[in-house]
Subunit: 209 residues, 2 copies
């Protein structure tokens, strides 16, 4: 398939299960889908590999990348930079591979400005109480952190309409399947098949009367 | 599923195999998909049943339906009227059933104006020479008719970009499957899930700080 790969942006509340769903998609479509590897200025944690977990860069190098437009988007968290490398993403798409970006709302909106044909998907648990249950059930955060995440979800929920698709994460495999369905359908959009349309138009020219 | 059904418009050149593909979709999804029954002023042919093949109406009755806005679209061919009854289509969609309209380009564009969230799909054989082969191979039309259909295809091909999706009909079941994939993905559009979004927003309100 010579068609250009899709840029698929997946966002969702903390506790929406984004990470697990993305892993499932990558397992389902190892040769057709790829998760974007971010660039970061934070230090590698034990077990993290250069180019797999992240591309690890110095502050100076990261700021050079910003200046020279080598990042699709970037953000700063807790004094560290995180960004999406443009060259890597473009290369994968050129190879016909769909690139998944797991990114928060503001970043997603910036991507849409730069890549109007990106596919923006918002992942949601089946309900607000289910979200609360999942965050409490994790048992990894204290009550204050859980409340902060829920309050943030309340804010983020205001931006769902700006996404193209809304997918409910009730069950990991079903949810991954829905996102794969979206990817398959998006490949069939006329806007992504300009070559095929032109070929047919040219092929039919000889029948013009 | 209480969600509103989709209005799916399928167009394609004569010889694109529209009819066969639509039959396959209806066979695959008998309870979720329905083909719109047209209203016509022509006389029933042997075997044609009222309300199944067509709704048969007099000229006067048809013109009343036009005047009173009871048709989504209509056209006149060889001194007979053909139209799509609004009430029937709306009722099916309300029941959550996807309604398929098999309709030519001009009609499709009119539908899109009236129903901006209709899903417009253009069906195409794999190539221009394949189209010629199919039309000649049917053996039901003389050479002049085949040339007229190909010349018409040449004109129609200019309008493909106005459709939302382009689907190649290489093999009936695969092609029907692609259209079903499109329908499943379209159901996940944020614009079609306003209720779910509002529910989540309201459910999260109590966590606002």
């Amino acid at each position: 398939m010579a068609d250009r790969g899709l840029l698929i942006v997946i966002s969702g509340f903390a506790g929406s299960g984004k990470g697990t769903v993305v892993k499932q998609i990558l397992a389902d479509r190892p040769y057709r889908c790829s998760l974007s590897t971010s660039v970061t200025t934070r230090s590698p944690r034990p077990g993290e590999e250069e180019g797999v977990s992240y591309f690890f860069r110095t502050n100076e190098e990261f700021e050079r990348m910003i200046r020279e437009g080598e990042l699709i988007e970037y953000a700063q968290y807790v004094s560290h930079y995180y960004g999406t490398p443009k060259a890597w993403v473009e290369q994968k798409m050129k190879e016909g591979i769909d690139v998944i970006l797991e990114i928060e709302i503001q970043g997603a909106m910036n991507i849409k400005k730069m890549y109007p044909d990106a596919v923006l998907i918002f992942l949601m648990p089946p309900g607000a109480s289910e979200l609360e249950k999942r965050l409490v059930g994790r048992g990894t955060e204290d009550a204050a952190t859980v409340r902060a995440r829920l309050s943030r979800a309340c804010e983020e929920a205001q931006g769902i309409e700006n996404y193209d698709y809304l997918v409910i994460n009730d069950e990991v495999e079903a949810c991954a399947g829905r996102i794969e369905t979206i990817a398959d359908a998006e490949r069939l959009r006329t806007g992504r098949q300009a070559d095929q349309i032109r070929q047919m138009q040219q092929g039919l020219e000889r029948f013009r009367v």
